[in-house]
Amino acid sequence: MNSGPTIHFTSNSPRRVFVAGLTWLLAYLAARYVFETMAPEPHWDIVVANIPVIAFFWFVWVVRRALKDIDELRRRIHLEALALAFPTTMLVLMTLGLLDSPASPLGLPLRDIWVLLPLLYVLCFAVVNQRYR
């Protein structure tokens, strides 16, 4: 069996993920700003709406690279956090759907509900991480 290269743990991976995530968020906010203030012409609106998509693909690429850098326990923790966060997110959205109300638990407008998803993931990650401490 190939023992594989030694993994060197650096603080670069989390920082890169953070920067990529922040870039994605800023791209989204910039696109939103354009829509709210400039009302782009037809066809241009599609271009503007797709600006965050480019940042998203970069984010996914950075996350995939970061996953290769971390060790197997940390990978397991992320997997369990996802397994917890995904159905929790579904539950939140289903409940909001049942209520059929634009009001959300945090008082967020419907278009900002997505903020709950990373928050739930971070929360689930903290819970799972605690189990392996």
């Binding site: 023992s3 594989g4 993994i7 971390i70 060790d71 197997e72 940390r74 392996y132």
Partner: protein
């Protein structure tokens, strides 16, 4: 799965950090294995056994 990783590490007077570095994993991983919270992958189990010059079934018991 039970293991005697902690005893073997203590015999060599290695800290968790030292063992983690030798195996290329985090200290949290070593701690989780020693406390039985996490069962390592087969690849890591082989690396551990090889490092301690033991058979894998001597280090890990079902």
């Amino acid at each position: 799965m039970r293991n005697d990783l902690k005893e073997r590490r203590a015999q060599r007077e290695w800290s968790q950090g030292v063992l983690a570095e030798k195996l290329g994993v985090s200290r949290q991983t070593i701690n989780a294995i020693e406390t039985g919270k996490y069962d390592p992958s087969l690849e890591l189990a082989f690396k551990i056994a090889r490092l301690f010059k033991a058979r894998i079934e001597d280090v890990f018991q079902p």
